[in-house]
Symmetry: C2
Subunit: 346 residues, 2 copies
């Protein structure tokens, strides 16, 4: 078994702005797992929110020696070893997890969603994310997103109500809202959500900062929109702590370390009666296709990272009007394109 | 896809007595899933505690029409259909779940423990169960169980302390204790466990009745032995309710409907910091081998059903001094023997 790495800079169609900051280039690392004549592809899309960038990912991945393992089927053995190298580094770990799953699916000649035995007949529609922007750009972006029936709007601006009113002048589509921890005062958060209750909103994601879990609990008892935890839930062990403060969780492969942990989180959410959303970072079709393989287990999906970029190095999942079609190709169902092959190994 | 059923009467080496009753014959139903030239084997071992017997199992299984499904890979689709036929019937449902997993493993040519990517290097020792009996028989049984380093003792007799003292005259082996809901008064339960604390005991299983969860919570705060839930936890949704009253759960394939639900329960127990035990009914090597495939995920195992019988219709898992060796054969790793082939289909 051997790992090979490539750095690839995803270019964003628009500068992407949320309450914390903005970006126009998103560096990712593609992990190739070579074994037995098969290449499994994985992806690490680091986020500063979780103290990662392309350098931390490369440093972490270079510490991994997979030559001591017999086969990628030794999933727990390999992933426990990777996990114990260091804490954090969740997107780097995800790169390994995805490459293993892609390899296994290819070896067994089945898509990962079949490997897990999912019912592929019921797939939720993915939302399309609109970042924070000027009123003029917002109008342009929403017009550009005409093909998507479900939007996700980033909030946390100086005047969120005004932003929503602007959107509602252009479209009456349902949308989800993501405050990315922006509302730090519980009464202010309550006022925002009370306003949103009449605006055809599906749910509100992470209204308050991660460390204000008691305020979020207070808030939840007073509002009639589901609250979804994002920054408050990274991995499995975070879920029981927030079960009384939120109605659901946003699982992201890049923060939870991959498909294996995502499955644990899905099962635990089922036990605790929490809705399951899967979100993403700015990601290529490798990671988005991986997330889409779990689509049958989701109540909500926001898997649009690959349609926000202009230079996707892979093809895989198809996004048609927010409907994701899981490929019948084995593994994650992804194929590198020419741009990718032109990139050299690290 | 086609199902075929056989009824088989397991004969117990000794009459098996617990606090609720006794048995010398344990009827099981073997489920054969035929598809694509492969036969997947499953087993239903019904228990009156969960309102099942051989007739309820046969009636339930005869309602199932699998011909409408394309492939056993459609696990969720098939199992959701089976689940929705009726509530309860957990061992009958387990028969289908096991047959599907055996079929998938055979189709993919890998043991189920590899299919799940478990680390097979760490396997806990299984206990060997000693039912309730006369002092004389107890001595005989414990001597017969000499090869097993870890025993599980059934309690709930008129004088459990005397029973333990009798055992401690013969052996100082560690053992687990199972009261099967027998101690109905919390102060009495406390007195029993306080006595057990000095007796080299691993844990106490289900000390009090299922509906006395508050008493069990009270008890747990006062004792220094782990309490394991058995009758209190059937499936996934039962786990959060008992997380504060017990230190772990006993998952049995026959009460939880099979491997698929068992995996959900394992993941949720990890999230809630509960120890994971897997137990069994009186079962043939089909169901015991299925349980043993999950061994790498367990903190405790009591998978001895097949060594308590004299006419096992299958061979599979090897139990050597309580150490279970997972076969490298695909699927559940079981093979029918001649006795089984002599049995006619229902």
């Amino acid at each position: 078994m051997e790992l090979k790495l490539k750095l690839y800079n995803l270019k964003l169609r628009h500068v992407f702005r949320i309450s914390r900051g903005e970006e126009s280039i998103a560096p990712i690392i593609i992990v190739e797992l070579h074994h037995d004549g098969i290449v499994g592809y994985g992806e690490a899309a680091p986020s500063m929110r979780y103290d990662e960038n392309e350098n931390t990912v490369i440093n972490f991945l270079k510490k991994i020696n997979v030559s001591k393992f017999d086969s990628p089927f030794e999933v727990d053995l390999i992933l426990n070893y990777v996990n114990n190298i260091d804490s954090g580094n969740s997107s780097a770990k995800c790169g390994i997890d995805l490459a293993i799953h892609d390899w296994i699916g290819k070896k067994l000649k089945i898509p990962i969603s079949n490997y897990f035995g999912f019912d592929r007949s019921i797939l939720v529609t993915s939302s399309f994310t609109i970042g924070i922007d000027s009123e003029e750009m917002l109008v342009q972006k929403i017009n550009e997103a005409e093909e998507y029936p479900l939007l996700k709007i980033k909030l946390g601006t100086a005047d969120d109500k005004k932003l929503i009113k602007t959107i509602r002048k252009i479209t009456d589509k349902p949308f989800c809202v993501d405050a990315n921890e922006a509302w730090q005062d519980k009464n202010y958060a309550l006022e925002q959500i009370k306003f949103l209750e009449d605006q055809n909103i599906i749910f509100v994601e992470q209204p308050m900062p991660e460390n204000q879990i008691d305020d979020t609990k207070w808030l939840r008892e007073k509002v009639n929109l589901p609250l979804i935890a994002d920054e408050n839930v990274k991995t499995l062990i975070d879920i029981p702590k927030i079960a009384n403060a939120f109605d659901g969780i946003n699982i992201k492969l890049m923060k939870c370390t991959g498909i294996r942990e995502a499955m644990r989180m899905i099962h635990t959410s089922q036990a605790l009666n929490l809705k399951i959303m899967m979100g993403c970072m700015i990601e290529s079709s490798v990671a988005i296709s991986a997330g889409a393989q779990l689509l049958p287990m989701l109540n909500y999906a926001d898997l649009d990272g690959n349609v926000l970029i202009t230079n996707d190095p892979f093809s895989g999942i198809k996004n048609e009007h927010g409907n994701l079609t899981i490929s019948d190709f084995p593994g994650l169902g992804v194929e590198p394109n020419e741009k990718y092959f032109a990139t050299t190994y690290l």
